[in-house]
């Protein structure tokens, strides 16, 4: 009996969930017979089962609903909005009762008669109802729900399994992988036996496959995430008198079961916000020249190892001015700072705790639980949230969450003799405390780290966790950590040790209650490690949360006052000892890199960072010390690494050096604070990179004028392409010839024409012998001369 009851409960709950969308869709299109049948079937099943299980209240409710639906099926009644609401009400009550039965609690003793009466009420005046509410209310549409009606017949066969069984299976496989690793270690210690190795290989493959399959059992269709939305949109729309056309897309995308759970709340919140604050009332929309029915679109798609969920509406968007006013009123922002903020920065204010754009607090949203919580929740699971605001036109919120909760890239840090993990996404920058860019000052117990003129609150991890700060020979590492809700802060740890993909598991509630941990992980060494929660740490340390940009602004003002156009530059010491300057905007960050990561290949130096090879600008690959301080440079597309002896500080240097050198790696010399410093030329730095990709843009194209000539097409063009040149047959029709281009031709007049256009011209001749001393042309089969001419003339 108990089992039957359990079965009934879980089946009812599941069907209810799936049906909520169906009812709404059916309301939008009452002629949809399939949906009506599905709903009817549900009540019929409930009625049948509860008669058997002796659940009289269920029976009464479902019987009443079934009667009405039967009338509608028979065409004796119109499914108007009131009827649909009443049917939904009954479904809700059945849901509540099911819950109560499942918990073994007493059934809530509310008056079912009222609900049943509501079902019958409109029957007395059906004509009026239909006339007065011509589908104007909550005309929500759920196209995504459409295929679901036909699904039951075509659905693959499934069975219901308890989650604990799947978890057990997962654990079993994890143990198996560990055992396999140990076996492989043991095998390597013994003599190599190819036969054994083959068998072991096969076992490994099986284990790996198995692990993949098992992890798929954790995947769930995003449909489940969407199931509650149509109902919510309908109910909210009716309550607020707004008309909303809902589109759901991408319900078949799959994501981790736990992830689905984690995303439900943020998604619900965003949808609510969008209906409550975003989409305007029909009158306002009409006044604004928009269609009366607002559009709300929720779509999910997979992008790499991320799931992207975009929620877009065509409502009012976010009023950033009001947001700024609120932030100022709340004392979170100074008026001058606000005046200097970019539109995007203003928009980001919505993530500050306790700010809401709602003019008044409504029952639906704006209760102080705002976007800050949404962002915190999304970032806790390693996701990102982005806003694309078009005031007056609408808002698009994009959530990017990892495909699975369980694997995130993390940094392993050391503090108080213990290791901790922190999500890679939370760390903005890592510096050493002996870095000259960083200045730590203490006042009244507070620590303030000033990094490149921006002041951050600084906390020692050991202090927050109540650990002892162990003495250590080297410098401590300072990470700039961005927490989901607040300002970035500086977190000092003994060292940053490693960068790993971590399999994260939830920690027990006892541990989570401390508020500073987000989970735990079991690395290969078998010692469990805790994952730090950046926002939790900031909370635990009670860091202030006020936007501040005064110092950065003052610097700018100083530079402006100086009259000469100044740019920020990094002063550093070369490995060879000279002090030089490099424009700061080129430097992505300064990092200490393990000397072992540097290597040499084909005469060029490389460093292995973040899983890829990066060229080393000054060609150094061997270092006496373990850690190398390096600048990471980026020119937009290309990255490079520049090992230096030490980073000194940031100074303002004139845009044009005091003494200009046109060639080589230095662009000139500037005098900063009475010291002569060589200024590195960014152009030369990137030009010297051993990358074809970089060389090409300066190379220009080879324009072959005689495009009709067979020799040019079949022999010359392939030869040039093979040599890495971009080849163009005939003169470019749409654009002028670039000065970088090289024109190849055979006729003398064409050569002269090319010279007039200002390009370099290589003239080819068919005869091995030159026509005379004035003849600058090249024999067309003299490959060396040809290549030299193309390459050399580009100089």
């Amino acid at each position: 009996m108990d089992e039957l009851l359990q079965e009934f409960i879980s089946e009812t709950q599941e069907t209810l969930e799936a049906l909520a969308g169906e009812v709404v869709a059916w309301e939008a299109d009452p002629s949809d017979r399939d949906r009506l049948d599905a709903i009817f079937r549900f009540f019929h099943t409930v009625k049948g089962s509860c008669g058997f299980l002796n659940l009289p209240r269920f029976e009464r409710l479902s019987h009443a609903a079934e009667d009405v639906l039967a009338e509608i099926r028979a065409g004796e009644r119109q499914p108007d909005a009131a009827t649909v609401s009443a049917v939904l009400g009954l479904m809700d009550r059945i849901g509540e009762l099911t819950e109560a039965v499942a918990m073994g609690a007493a059934l809530p003793n509310e008056n079912d008669d009222y609900l049943i009466a509501a079902l019958h009420a409109p029957a007395e005046s059906p004509a009026e109802e239909v006339a007065s509410k011509p589908a104007s209310e909550g005309a929500a549409e759920a196209p995504a729900a459409a295929p679901r009606t036909s699904a039951p017949q075509a659905a693959p066969r499934t069975i219901r399994l308890p989650l604990s069984l799947i978890d057990q299976l997962m654990n079993g496989v994890s143990d198996m992988v560990l055992a396999r690793n140990e076996l492989s270690r043991k095998l390597r210690e013994r003599c190599a036996d190819p036969e054994l190795d083959t068998v072991f290989e096969r076992l490994s493959t099986c284990v790996a496959d198995m692990r993949d399959v098992i992890s798929k059992t954790r995947m769930q269709r995003v449909d489940r995430l969407f199931a509650a939305i149509p109902r919510m949109v309908r109910d909210l729309g009716r309550e607020l008198g707004k008309r909303i056309d809902l589109t759901l897309e991408g319900g078949d995308v799959e994501m981790d079961r736990e992830m689905v759970e984690m995303v439900v709340d943020p998604l619900t919140h965003i949808v609510r916000n969008s209906i409550d604050h975003g989409i305007e009332t029909p009158e306002r929309r009409r006044a604004a020249g928009k269609p009366e029915t607002g559009r709300l679109r929720v779509e999910a798609r997979q992008s790499g190892n991320q799931i992207v969920i975009a929620i877009s509406d065509d409502g009012a968007g976010i009023d950033t001015t009001r947001l700024v006013d609120k932030a100022i009123a709340a004392g979170r922002l100074t008026p001058d700072a606000a005046a200097r903020m970019t539109e995007q920065e203003k928009l980001d204010l919505i993530f500050l705790a306790g700010l809401s754009t709602a003019q008044q607090v409504t029952a639906i949203s704006g209760r102080g639980v705002g976007m800050d919580v949404v962002r915190a929740n999304v970032e806790r699971i390693g996701g990102l949230i982005a806003l694309d605001n078009h005031p007056g036109q609408g808002l698009c919120i994009t959530l990017r969450v990892p495909l699975t909760l369980t694997i995130i890239p993390g940094l392993i840090v050391r503090a108080g003799g213990q290791h901790f993990a922190i999500p890679r996404a939370a760390v903005v920058e890592i510096l050493h405390d002996n870095n000259d860019m960083l200045q730590v000052s203490r006042v009244g117990g507070a620590q303030i780290a000033t990094i490149r003129a921006v002041r951050h609150s600084m906390i020692d991890l050991e202090d927050i966790l109540g650990m002892e700060k162990l003495p250590q020979p080297g410098p401590r590492a300072i990470m700039v950590v961005r927490s989901g809700t607040g300002m970035p802060f500086a977190l000092a740890v003994a060292a940053v040790d490693n960068h790993e993909e971590l399999v994260i598991r939830p920690a027990s509630p006892l541990v989570m209650a401390s508020g500073v941990y987000a989970g735990m992980t079991l690395p290969d060494n078998g010692r469990p490690m805790l994952l730090l929660d950046a926002a939790g740490l900031a909370n635990a340390a009670r860091l202030p949360n006020i936007v501040d940009d005064q110092v950065a602004r003052r610097q700018e003002e100083e530079a402006e006052a100086a009259g000469v156009e100044m740019v920020a530059a990094l002063r550093f010491e070369e490995l060879s000892g000279e002090r030089r300057l490099l424009k700061l905007s080129l430097i992505e960050r300064v990092e200490d890199i393990d000397a072992s990561l540097f290597g040499r290949s084909g005469g060029k130096a490389y460093v292995r960072l973040d899983g890829r090879l990066m060229p080393v600008v000054n060609g150094r690959a061997d270092f006496p010390q373990d850690k190398v301080c390096a600048l990471r440079l980026r020119d937009g597309a290309q990255e490079a690494c520049y090992p230096v002896a030490a980073v000194l500080d940031i100074v303002q240097m004139p845009l044009v050096p005091d003494m200009v050198a046109m060639h080589g790696v230095l662009s000139g010399v500037s005098v900063i604070e009475g010291e002569h410093l060589e200024v590195l030329s960014p152009f030369a730095l990137f030009a010297s990179l051993p990358q074809e990709r970089l060389d090409r843009p300066q190379q220009g194209r080879c324009v072959l004028l005689d495009s009709e000539d067979g020799w040019t097409r079949e022999i010359l063009a392939p030869l040039l392409r093979q040599a890495g040149h971009e080849v163009m047959l005939g003169l470019p029709s749409d654009a002028p010839v670039d000065a970088q281009d090289v024109i190849l031709c055979s006729g003398t007049d064409a050569a002269q024409a090319g010279e007039i256009m200002g390009c370099r011209v290589v003239q080819l001749r068919a005869s091995p012998r030159a026509a005379g001393p004035q003849d600058g042309s090249i024999y067309r089969y003299d490959q060396d001369a040809l290549m030299a001419a193309i390459g050399g003339r580009q100089g």
Binding site: S174, D175, Q418, M467, S508, L510, V511, L522, P528
Partner: protein, 145 residues
Amino acid sequence: MDNLYLFAILAGTRVAVEAGEVEAVVKLTDISPVPGMGAHVAGLSALRSRVLTIVDVAAIVHGQPTPPERRGLAVIADISGHSYGLMLDSVSDICRVPEGEVPLRGQLDPAWAAYASAIVEHDGHPWLLVSLSSFIEGASAAQAA
């Protein structure tokens, strides 16, 4: 219930635990501390691929943490989906007691009141029947306070 109990010394007291609650008893090897937590959480320990939260019962009951050198055994239990290891002083027996639990008599130390519900007679001695999940609840409550 089949009246099968684990008899052990827990925080210096003779206790009985219903065998159904016990998953295993293991020897603790390596405990990684969880800094920032009260003494009741001794740390984390890996059991094959599982991570156990090791709970110091003595700290919960008497408020005195067990010194690291006396951390010997732990009883593993799955409590609301998470694996815990509760530190034991020693294990004496697992056996069936046909007469089952008998009501508490005498004045129970208030420290134990929240965790003990009855007595089980075994080997001529009374053993306090405790529930492992009550220790976890007790620890959470202590944390909230």
